[in-house]
């Protein structure tokens, strides 16, 4: 075999040994504690996105005429409380401050009211456009 090939082969072998071997030489790392709030905030954010996307799709399907009013109201009634629950979880994850604990009931009521107002506005706009 050509000496150039042997040298090239050794280089390739060296690269392979490096890529496979170096990680094995690292000291065994201790498990580090991960910041819980960051992970739970990400998961809650994703859950919020999903549940609001679901509500938006239910609303859109209804406006597109794919859902009967009865089914629309049933689905909305099923997912709206979950949206509120997710918002609560997110608010709680951001900080369980004494102020938050104190005003928790008030904040929950406020969230529910906001959600209803948004949906009512959408229905109102659509009603107007149908009449118009």
């Amino acid at each position: 075999m050509d000496p150039v090939v042997i040298v090239a082969g050794l280089i390739l072998l060296g690269i392979s040994v490096y890529l496979v071997g170096v990680p094995l030489l690292k000291p065994l790392a201790e498990e580090t504690k991960t910041a819980k709030p960051a992970v739970s905030t990400v998961n809650t954010e994703e859950a919020k996105e999903i549940i609001f996307a679901t509500l938006a799709e239910i609303e859109f399907d209804y406006q597109m005429g794919k859902l009967a009013e009865e089914d629309y109201l049933k689905l909305k009634g099923e997912y709206q409380p979950r949206a509120i629950q997710v918002l609560r979880s997110q608010a709680k994850a951001k900080g369980d401050s004494p102020q938050f604990v104190k005003d928790r009931a008030a904040i929950e009521a406020e969230l529910e009211k906001e959600l209803e107002q948004e949906l009512a506005q959408i229905r109102k706009d659509l009603q107007k456009s149908r009449e118009g």
Binding site: L12, P23, I50, E57, A68
Partner: protein
């Protein structure tokens, strides 16, 4: 020298793959992250090594090193650079190396992707990928070595088969392989989910882009293959239901079913076992495809010929089939459905129906493909099943799927109302009836299935267009946006849906081309003297004799014929016969005068008396151009759907348990 280096790189890659497999097993047993990182590094090393080996083969091909058998067999001194490069995958050994290359690169990317949520699955994903890498490296190193020597001094090569000297050679094999190999990724994740008893949809979310891109490449590969057959072979068709063609169509069918049914698992937590089964079948079918090509068990124009590798591939295919199905059965208890069907009139049920039809079509095609093997085994005679069987069985199934494509978008998830559904599809349905009538009466040949398919295609297209228009109007009214803003907001916020609609519209156009060309063919073959005309479908062609020219090292004989229609000169066609120095038989180069309405497809079949007399074959292929237009729409729609960023992720999720 380069041949030795190429082979050495393959051997080292195989050793590294085996070592990485052992290290990966250790990482699972010990939980030591260092073993995991080491295995990841190993997969990176495999990709580098196979790339070096591939580069070596390319170098040998480009420099025409005929001391290497593969270079001798598939190239010659006179071959252009482009075809010297594409000769890489012209033969069995080179195409296996290409598979190993794509697989190693995909594996390295997957292993080194930073996805925190996949931590639990990754060790097993890597294990499955490494098993595949080991197999293909074993096959190419010891059973189909592309670096084997010729054994003697050779001045020139045999040259590339003239039928492979077509632009399709550059695109078709590469895209088919990118598609085939791509399905190993979702398969590996599925196996990891089974092993770890992860019954969620994480494995689907993690591999969605891989799956869709693999599907896209396979779609492009199939379409370019059809185009190549259409322009190269001269028989006027684009799909012969050849076993190897079927072998690339089969995983496309099951992958299409899979792409749709995983949406149901993501949204509703249903079809878990079904989705597992679909990806297993898709992956096994990719192995089946390569088995057919390399074993020679079924006669095909695409086959590399009979080789000893057949048993090797059959063995691996069988092993993976039994292992994956066994694992699925063993873990089936863990994968419980989270929801049940709430209504038979729902998008879930329509998707299930769509799946059943696609899998049914796949079964029909599979049965027709292996029938020669089965009949040989049972009766000792290989009975070949031809296009009539496939057209009669698969055709209606696929066109029913086309109809379902028009129903699904207007059905809501979870539960739909029958009256609402009828209202949604009423005017597209009514609007499609004149299409059926028009085609039926205009063509006047009494055939009903072609007008029906035209009607179905019109219906499906109108449903999709209505969805887009209505959605735009609804959004415009809700938000007060202009129509353009509303349209862009609508499609960009849900690219998965509207990219999918674009793919559906592309599929409709392809279906139109298929039914137009196959349903209403016009053909004539005429022997003419100089000055004589040929009339077909309103066209008049005048034979003016033959001419000759040289191009590169090829001798070309062609017949330039002016084309007149309705008294107007449209241009001329020039079908050819091309003579290659290394090959006895000339190839046929078709001349196509194409338009949106139809293709005028002209072939110079033969001649005598020095060209005084020639036999010309002419086809008129209605709507053929729409196949390629539909193909481009399919590509754009898929890319639009999977492009990273907001709007490509699945949002809604209908679950019975709290989020």
């Amino acid at each position: 020298m380069m041949a030795d280096l190429g082979f050495l790189a393959l051997v080292i890659a195989l050793l590294v793959a085996v070592l990485s497999f052992v290290i990966q097993v250790l990482s699972i047993k010990t939980g030591d992250k260092r073993f995991m990182e080491s295995a990841r590094g190993g997969m990176g090393a495999i990709a580098i090594l196979v790339s070096v080996s591939s580069a070596a083969l390319l170098y040998l091909l480009v420099t025409s090193d005929f001391s290497v058998l593969y270079v001798y067999r598939y190239t010659s001194l006179s071959l252009s650079l482009l075809y010297k490069l594409s000769a890489f995958w012209a033969g069995n050994a080179g195409s296996l190396l290409l598979w190993a290359l794509v697989l190693s690169i995909y594996s390295a990317i997957v292993a080194n992707s930073k996805q925190e949520q996949n931590k639990k699955l990754m060790p097993y994903v890597n294990l499955v990928l490494l098993i595949n890498n080991i197999f293909f490296l074993l096959a190419v190193t010891f059973f189909a070595n592309p670096f084997a020597p010729t054994g003697g001094a050779v001045m020139d090569g045999r040259g590339l088969n003239p039928m492979l000297q077509n632009p399709g050679m550059i695109i078709h094999p590469i895209t088919v392989f990118l598609g085939y190999v791509g399905f190993v990724v979702p398969f590996a994740f599925a196996m990891a989910a089974l092993i770890t008893k992860d019954s969620g949809d994480l494995w689907i979310k993690s591999t969605r882009r891989w799956t869709v891109l693999a599907w896209l490449f396979l779609s492009i590969g199939n379409l370019y293959g059809a185009q190549w057959a259409y322009t190269e072979l001269g028989w006027g068709g684009f799909w012969a239901w050849d076993p190897v063609e079927n072998a690339s169509f089969l995983p496309w069918l099951t992958a299409t079913a899979f792409i749709h049914s995983v949406m149901i698992q993501e949204r509703k937590g249903m079809f878990k076992i079904w989705n597992m089964a679909l990806i297993i079948v898709t992956y096994i079918l990719t192995l089946f495809g390569t088995y057919i090509v390399r074993s020679g068990v079924i006669t095909s124009v695409h086959a590399f010929g009979v080789s000893q590798q057949g048993n090797l591939f059959l063995g691996f295919l069988t092993l993976m089939l039994f292992a994956s199905v066994g694992l699925l059965i063993w873990r089936s208890d863990t994968f419980k459905e989270e929801k049940e069907f709430e209504s038979y009139l729902s998008r879930e049920s329509s998707f299930l129906l769509n799946n059943l039809f696609l899998v049914g079509a796949a079964f029909a095609v599979f049965w027709g493909t292996i029938f020669p093997l089965v009949s040989n085994w049972v009766k000792g005679v290989a009975v070949t099943v031809g296009p009539p069987f496939f057209n009669q069985v698969a055709g209606p199934i696929l066109f029913t799927t086309l109809f379902l494509m028009g129903i699904c978008p207007v059905i809501a998830w979870q539960k739909s109302n029958f009256k609402k559904l009828v209202k949604s599809i009423l005017w597209p349905f009514i609007s499609s009836l004149p299409v059926v009538a028009a085609v039926y009466f205009v063509k006047g040949d009494g055939q009903i299935w072609q007008p029906l398919v035209f009607g179905i295609a019109a219906f499906t297209a109108l449903v999709h267009l209505k969805e887009i228009i209505k959605g735009t109007l609804v959004r415009s009214k809700i938000r007060g946006d202009s129509l353009f803003q509303a349209f862009w907001g609508l499609v960009s916020k849900n690219r998965r849906r509207y990219g999918g609609y674009l793919v559906h519209l592309g599929t409709v156009l392809i279906a139109l081309a298929i039914v137009g060309t196959m349903g209403y063919p016009t053909e004539t073959t005429k022997t003419v003297q100089i000055g004589e005309t040929i009339e077909i479908g309103g066209y008049t062609l005048t034979y003016q004799g033959l001419q000759e020219k040289m191009f590169e090292n090829k001798g070309i004989v062609y017949a330039e014929m002016p084309v007149v229609k309705d008294g107007k000169l449209l241009g001329s066609v020039a079908p050819e016969k091309v003579f290659y120095p290394e090959f006895e038989q000339p190839t046929t180069e078709v001349s196509i005068m194409g338009g949106f309405k139809e293709d005028l497809y002209v072939v110079l079949s033969s001649w005598s008396q020095g060209g005084e007399i020639a036999t010309i074959k002419i086809n008129i292929n209605p709507l053929m151009a729409w196949m390629w237009i539909g193909g481009y729409l399919l590509i754009i729609g898929t890319l639009f759907a999977v492009w990273p960023g907001r709007g490509s992720r699945l949002g809604p999720r209908y679950k019975s348990r709290p989020a």
